[in-house]
C-alpha cells in the first residue's frame, strides 16, 4: 500500500514539475506595457550610438516568409552569428506568411496592445500599403540609420516608392528582385520571349507548365507580368483602385490566361498552392517551368545539386517585373532599438555582400557609394551557372504597379481564370 502512495506522490510531483517548467520556459515573452509611449519620444531623439548601446544584449525577432530554405538558413546562421558578434544581439527568425503577420498586428492594434512580439518585418508592395494605411508600422526611422546615407542611393525611386506608394522612411531596402523564368535546357530547348511563344510552349509541353495560385507572391507577379505583356503597363500607374475599372483593363490578359488553362498542369482546374510547392515539382521533374523573384537563385540550387546544371533562366522581350523588398518595424515592437540595429546591418555593404554571396540576391547598395574594398567584396562573388547578367536584367526591368491594385487583380484572377 505504501508503495502505491509513494508512486502517486511521485507522479503528482512529476506533473507539477512539468507544468512549472512549461510556464517558465523561454517560449513566451513577458509583455511590458508600461514604458512604451515614453520610450518612443525618447527614441526619436536618440542618435545611433545610443541606440546601438541600448540594443546590446537584447533579442530581436525577425518575422517574414519562410518558404525559402536557403534564406532561412542564411538568416539563422550567418546573420545571427554576425549580429551576435558585432552587436551582441540575439536574432530570432520566425517564419510566418505576411498575411498572418499583418493579421496579428491588426488584431493587436484593435485590442490596444502597446507591446507585442514582432520587431523586424520583411515586407513590401501591397502589404506595406496595407500596413502603413492602418498604422501598423513604426516610423519614420530610415534616416536614423547610418547605412542609409552611407550606402543607399537616396534619390532612387525604388528607395522612396514601394509599388508606387511613398515610403516616407517607414521601411528600409533589403534586397532587389526581378522575375525570371526558368527551364531545363536538356528537356525544353525553347525560351519563350513573349505571350504568343509562351502559348506555343504550353501547348507543346502539355500538363507540364503552370504557376502558383494567387495570392502567392510569385504567382501574382506572373499574372501581373502577363498583364504587362498583353495590355501594356503605363495605364496602370495612376489607375483608380476600382474593381470594375481594373477588370475592364485586364480582361484581355484574363482571356489569355484562360486560353492557357487546357494545356496547363491539371488543366488549370487547380494550381500549386505556393511557390515552394512549384519549385519542388520543378526540381522533381514534374513541371518543366518555374519562375522566381530571385534571378540568381538558380545558381545556388545548381550548386547544391537540387537542380541539374542544364537549368537556365530567361526573360520576356518586353521585360519582367522588378521590385525591392524592405524591412519594416512593427508599431508595437518591444525592441525598436534592436530592430534598427539589425536593419542597419542588413542594409550595409557587409550585410548585402553576405546576402549576395550566399543567396545571390541582388544588392540594394549604390555602387557609386562603395569604397574600392567594398566594391571588391561584391565583384569577387561569382553569380554562378544558369543566370543572366545584371545588365541584361536591368535592361528588361519593368516597374511594379500601384500596391492597391494588386489585391483587386488577385480577386479578378480567382473569379475569371481558375477552373474556367
Amino acid at each position: 500500500m505504501k508503495r502505491k502512495k509513494i508512486g502517486f506522490m511521485l507522479c503528482i510531483v512529476l506533473c507539477v514539475m512539468m507544468v512549472v517548467s512549461v510556464s517558465c520556459s523561454n517560449n513566451s515573452d513577458p509583455q511590458q506595457n508600461n514604458d512604451a509611449p515614453v520610450e518612443e519620444t525618447y527614441l526619436s531623439e536618440m542618435n545611433f550610438d545610443k541606440i546601438e548601446e541600448k540594443a546590446k544584449g537584447t533579442k530581436v525577432t525577425f518575422y517574414g516568409w519562410g518558404g525559402d530554405e536557403y534564406r532561412n538558413n542564411w538568416l539563422n546562421t550567418d546573420m545571427a552569428n554576425a549580429l551576435k558578434e558585432k552587436y551582441d544581439i540575439t536574432l530570432e527568425v520566425v517564419p510566418m506568411d505576411i498575411d498572418q503577420i499583418l493579421n496579428k498586428l491588426s488584431g493587436e492594434k484593435q485590442a490596444g496592445s502597446t507591446s507585442g512580439s514582432i520587431d523586424v518585418i520583411w515586407i513590401n508592395g501591397e502589404n506595406f500599403f496595407t500596413a502603413k494605411e492602418n498604422s501598423l508600422l513604426y516610423g519614420p526611422f530610415l534616416d536614423k540609420l547610418p547605412s542609409y546615407e552611407k550606402y543607399i542611393d537616396t534619390e532612387d525611386p525604388e528607395t522612396n516608392f514601394d509599388f508606387g506608394y511613398p515610403v516616407e522612411g517607414y521601411e528600409a531596402p533589403y534586397g532587389k528582385a526581378q522575375i525570371v523564368f526558368m527551364g531545363d535546357s536538356a528537356k525544353t530547348s525553347e525560351t519563350p520571349a513573349g505571350a504568343e511563344e509562351f502559348l506555343e510552349y504550353v501547348k507543346k509541353y502539355k500538363g507540364k507548365v503552370t504557376y502558383p495560385a494567387l495570392p502567392d507572391f510569385t504567382g501574382s507577379a506572373f499574372v501581373r507580368n502577363v498583364i504587362y505583356e498583353i495590355c501594356g503597363y503605363e495605364q496602370f500607374m495612376d489607375m483608380e483602385a476600382d474593381k470594375e475599372t481594373v477588370r475592364k483593363e485586364v480582361m484581355p490578359a484574363m482571356e489569355y490566361l484562360k486560353s492557357l488553362n487546357p494545356y496547363l498542369w491539371n488543366e488549370g482546374k487547380t494550381f500549386p498552392a505556393s511557390s515552394t510547392e512549384q519549385e519542388n515539382m520543378f526540381s522533381d521533374g514534374e513541371l518543366y517551368f518555374n519562375l522566381s523573384y530571385s534571378p540568381y537563385s538558380v545558381a545556388t540550387r545548381i550548386e547544391d545539386g537540387v537542380y541539374p546544371d542544364t537549368v537556365r533562366t530567361y526573360l520576356f522581350d518586353k521585360g519582367t517585373i522588378g521590385n525591392t523588398s524592405y524591412m519594416g518595424i512593427a508599431y508595437n515592437s518591444p525592441n525598436k532599438e534592436g530592430a534598427m540595429v539589425v536593419i542597419d546591418y542588413l542594409m550595409s555593404a557587409e550585410g548585402q555582400a553576405g546576402q549576395f554571396d550566399k543567396l545571390k540576391a541582388l544588392p540594394v547598395v549604390d555602387n557609386n557609394k562603395l569604397s574600392p574594398e567594398e566594391k571588391e567584396m561584391f565583384e569577387k562573388i561569382d553569380t554562378g551557372k544558369g543566370t543572366l547578367t545584371q545588365e541584361e536584367l536591368l535592361s528588361k526591368r519593368l516597374p511594379e504597379m500601384p500596391a492597391n491594385l494588386v489585391p483587386i487583380i488577385e480577386e479578378i484572377w480567382l473569379e475569371e481564370v481558375v477552373g474556367k
Binding site: M18, V19, V22, S23, N76, G107, E277
Partner: protein, 268 residues
C-alpha cells in the same frame, strides 16, 4: 461457417494492411536520398532526412521537447478538470445538469478554427495571446469532451458502493476517494490522459493563430513541410511526429498494465 469466417478474416487483414502500409511507406520515404518518379524504391538509403531533423535544424528538436511538455501539461489539466466534472455529472443531480452535460460536447460542435478566430481579439485584450497560458486554455478546452466522457462513463459504472462501504467502516470521504475510488479509476484516468495528450499534440490551428509564432509546437512546425514537396524531409519530420505521439501513448498503456497487475496481485 468457415466460409463466412474467412470473409471476416479477409476484411481484418485488408484493414490492417490499409492501416500499416502508409506508415511503412512513410518510413521508407524518410530513409531515402531522392525519390524521383517513376522509381518504385528510392535512389539509395540515406540519412539525409534525419540529418536535417536532428543536426541541421537544432531548434526543431527543442520545439519537439517543449511540445511534449506543453501537451503533458494540457493533458494533466484536461484530466483533472475532466475528473472533477465527471464526478459532478455522475454522482450528483442538480439543476442545469443536462445543459452542462451538453456543454461538454460543445467543443466538438464548434470547430477549433472558429473558436480561435472568435477569441483571438479577446486573448490579445487579456494579454494572453502569444503565451502558453492562452494555448493551454485552447488545448484543454478541446480535450474536455473526451476526458469528461471517458472518465464520466467509468465513474458512473464504478458507482458509489465501494466508497459508501468504506465510509460505513469509518473512514472520511477524502480517504475513501484517495484509497478506494481513485485507484479503481486509474486505468480510465490514464486512458483519458493519453487521449488528451494526443489531441493536444496534434492541435494545429489554435497554436498557429493564438500562439502568434511565439509559442511553437511541433505540429505548427511540421505543417508547412507537408505540402512543400520534399518527401524525404517531410517523411523524416512526420515520422518523428508520429513516433513521439505513439511513444507517450505506449508508455502510459504500459503504466496502466503495470498498475492493474499490481492491483490484481495485491488483492489475491
Amino acid at each position: 461457417m468457415t466460409n463466412k469466417n474467412s470473409i471476416f478474416k479477409l476484411v481484418m487483414a485488408l484493414a490492417a494492411a490499409c492501416i500499416l502500409i502508409p506508415v511503412i511507406l512513410m518510413a521508407v520515404c524518410a530513409f531515402t536520398s531522392r525519390w524521383q518518379w517513376p522509381d518504385l524504391l528510392g535512389e539509395s538509403f540515406s540519412l539525409r532526412g534525419f540529418e536535417e531533423v536532428f543536426i541541421n535544424n537544432v531548434q526543431s528538436f527543442r520545439i519537439l521537447i517543449s511540445s511534449v511538455f506543453i501537451s503533458m501539461a494540457a493533458a494533466l489539466f484536461a484530466t483533472i478538470i475532466g475528473y472533477m466534472s465527471a464526478q459532478a455529472f455522475s454522482m450528483y443531480d442538480f439543476p442545469l445538469k443536462k445543459w452542462l452535460h451538453f456543454g461538454s460536447m460543445l467543443p466538438i460542435i464548434i470547430p477549433s478554427s472558429v473558436f480561435a478566430m472568435g477569441i483571438h481579439v479577446y486573448f490579445i485584450k487579456w494579454g494572453i495571446n502569444d503565451s502558453i497560458t492562452g494555448i493551454l486554455i485552447g488545448h484543454v478546452l478541446y480535450c474536455l469532451p473526451y476526458t469528461v466522457n471517458i472518465l464520466g462513463d467509468s465513474r458512473e459504472a464504478l458507482g458509489n458502493k465501494y466508497e459508501q462501504q468504506a465510509m460505513m467502516l469509518g473512514c472520511n470521504s477524502f480517504m475513501a476517494f484517495f484509497h478506494i475510488t481513485l485507484p479503481l479509476m486509474i486505468p480510465s484516468v490514464i486512458s483519458a490522459f493519453s487521449m488528451a495528450y494526443i489531441i493536444s499534440f496534434s492541435q494545429y490551428f489554435i497554436t498557429m493563430l493564438l500562439g502568434g509564432g511565439v509559442v511553437k509546437t511541433y505540429a505548427v512546425f511540421v505543417f508547412p513541410l507537408i505540402s512543400a514537396g520534399d518527401r524525404t524531409i517531410a517523411g523524416a519530420y512526420t515520422l518523428v511526429f508520429l513516433l513521439s505521439s505513439l511513444l507517450i501513448f505506449i508508455l502510459f498503456e504500459g503504466v496502466i498494465k503495470f498498475i492493474v497487475k499490481k492491483i490484481v496481485s495485491a488483492e489475491t
